[in-house]
């Protein structure tokens, strides 16, 4: 069992070391205070042991205020400093860099389904290239799950009915555990998988070898046509003969949208998803609430593809090619999700 007896996890992502530093910082502080209190207790226990000539404790009236203030303020300062440090690490964990590549993930009892932007799908496994920030947009088909990759020090709950995101940049090739860490029913402890971090060349090889997949955006574009979204959300400029029935989606992602009745909402992934499933929830100002709902008509993976497609539409695309192909991949506006 000894070789198989780790006491500290692998650090395999760009944030892992900062998280570990924060942890070790607290460990040091904790060790200090625990040993301090422990030592004082032991010393006092021995030194002031009850004796025949010391039947009672001292009754001296000590001015407690100065010492109380001291030992309130010092821990407060320490705690607030650690809070601030922790906040910095937290921002790093929660905010993906602008060039993060968008993956999608769907959790369901009891498996993980991942979609690469190139269209490759994996179940309970996730191949990623080292050195590339990756953001995974996640949703659940049923109950609350939670995606956890200990070696990367990242985690997010995965909720039904909305998106949450997680991002990481793998720094070391290797195989790492992937766990579901929000209790989700009978097979919760078997809803696990492996992240395969590969050197970029190996990743390209893996991607190319025997894996067919339509890029997510392209399949999203197909769905856009198949579900007739383009009959109302036209790409062409509106004309009096063919007035637009729905707002243009060009360059929509990431912008602020004004809604009927005042108020605005940010057009993030959750907004896009909700607009497809509950179109009346956020009607855009100046438009009629005539969009039908597509609830129950498509799977989470198809929704992900559609959302990814709309994300990719650059601003100013008022004309489209015949097959509705979007702008070049990688030109999508910065995503501010999360």
């Amino acid at each position: 069992m000894w070789p198989n007896f780790p006491l500290f996890p692998d650090a395999a992502s760009s944030v892992a070391r900062e998280v570990d530093a924060l942890y070790l910082g607290w460990l040091a502080i904790s060790l200090f205070f625990s040993l301090l209190i422990g030592a004082l207790i032991v010393v006092f226990f021995m030194k002031y042991r009850r004796r025949a000539w010391r039947r009672f404790g001292s009754t001296a009236d000590i001015k407690t205020l100065p010492v109380e203030v001291t030992w309130s303020v010092i821990p407060l300062v320490i705690a607030l400093s650690m809070f601030a440090w922790g906040a910095k690490v937290f921002f790093d964990q929660m905010r993906p860099p602008a060039d993060a590549v968008g993956f999608y993930g769907v959790a369901k009892q009891w498996m993980w389904k991942f979609q690469h932007p190139e269209g490759v799908r994996e179940i309970n496994a996730l191949h990623v290239p080292v050195g590339q920030p990756i953001q995974i947009t996640l949703t659940s088909e049923d109950v609350i799950h939670s995606l956890f990759i200990p070696a990367f020090r990242v985690k997010t709950d995965v909720l039904p009915g909305r998106y949450t995101t997680l991002w990481f940049e793998a720094t070391k090739p290797g195989e790492y555990h992937l766990f579901c860490t929000e209790y989700c029913g009978t097979e919760h402890s078997r809803m696990i998988g492996t992240v395969y971090a590969l050197a970029p060349e190996d990743y390209e090889t893996w991607l190319a070898t025997g894996r067919t997949g339509v890029p997510l955006r392209v399949s999203g574009g197909e769905l856009f046509g198949r579900f007739a979204c383009d009959t109302c959300h036209r790409m062409e400029r509106a004309t009096p003969e063919l007035p637009a029935r729905g707002p243009s989606l060009a360059g929509l992602f990431g912008t602020e949208v004004e809604l009927v009745g005042g108020g605005t909402v940010t057009a993030d992934e959750t907004y896009l998803r909700r607009s497809i499933l509950e179109p009346q929830a956020h009607v855009v100002a100046g438009w009629q609430p005539i969009m039908p709902t597509f609830k129950g008509q498509m799977s989470e993976e198809q929704l992900n593809a559609l959302v990814d497609y709309v994300k990719s539409l650059p601003a100013g695309t008022q004309t489209a090619d015949e097959d509705g192909a979007p702008g070049a991949a990688g030109e999508s506006p910065a995503s501010n999700a999360g």
Partner: protein, 229 residues
């Protein structure tokens, strides 16, 4: 703090419990206890109000539409009935303080009757909702698909909140029956009217909860400003 000067008279009052110094301490303790209990009731209803506020903000239009299907006349009538019952309850407490036994019984009965009227009207209202298929669950029906989910949420909260309130009224009416017997026997008077007063506090609280429920549930968006909050 307890009185150090317990006289023999009050000390032997039949209502004085053995662990209290005197009636004064007992009265203060029981009133204070009832106030503490009402605080817990505020927190109990509070959870529902919190859920209501959150969902109302998320689906205001649906909430307004659903609220409009409630019978505002019946709701207003019920509000008047409950306020009236608080008046009769306050008069019952006053009568007890005046040691006027018959009036105590009269006003307790009046409160009971008014409470019954309130509940009767609620039964009628619930019946309407049942027939209109506005009861959430399997048989819920709503014409406007755009606001269906929000409307069902509204009605879930409507039934939860008014149901919780109604159950508190039923308990209250049961307690009135309990109080009637010793009231008839003249047990409450100038020296000792704790139970009536404490129950009065409870009844007023239940009334106040309704005074919040009525505008929140019945009067959404009815102030005449189109599309406003």
């Amino acid at each position: 703090m307890s009185s150090l000067h317990a006289e023999h008279g009050p000390r032997h009052h039949p209502a004085l419990a053995h662990h209290f110094e005197d009636l004064e301490q007992q009265k203060e303790a029981s009133s204070f206890g009832m106030w503490v209990f009402l605080v817990t009731e505020i927190m109990f209803f509070g959870g529902l109000f919190c859920a209501y506020l959150i969902y109302r903000r998320a689906s205001f239009a649906a909430f307004a539409e659903a609220s409009a299907t409630l019978d505002i006349d019946l709701g207003a009538f019920n509000t008047a009935v409950l306020i009236g019952s608080s008046l009769t309850m306050a008069l019952a407490v006053w009568s007890a303080q005046m040691s006027r036994k018959k009036l105590v019984v009269l006003f307790l009965l009046a409160t009971f009757v008014l409470g019954g009227v309130f509940l009767g009207v609620k039964v009628v209202e619930y019946g309407h909702k049942f027939h209109e298929h506005h009861v959430p669950g399997r048989h819920f029906e709503w014409e406007n698909p755009a606001t269906e989910a929000g409307a069902e949420m509204f009605f879930s909260l409507y039934f939860a909140m008014t149901g919780l309130h109604a159950s508190h009224m039923v308990v209250g009416m049961g307690l009135i029956l309990f109080l009637l017997v010793p009231a008839w026997r003249g047990r409450y008077g100038r020296d000792y009217y704790n139970p009536i007063e404490c129950f009065g506090l409870y009844w007023h609280f239940v009334d106040i909860v309704w005074i919040f429920l009525f505008p929140l549930l019945y009067l959404i968006g009815r102030h005449g400003v189109p599309g406003g909050h």
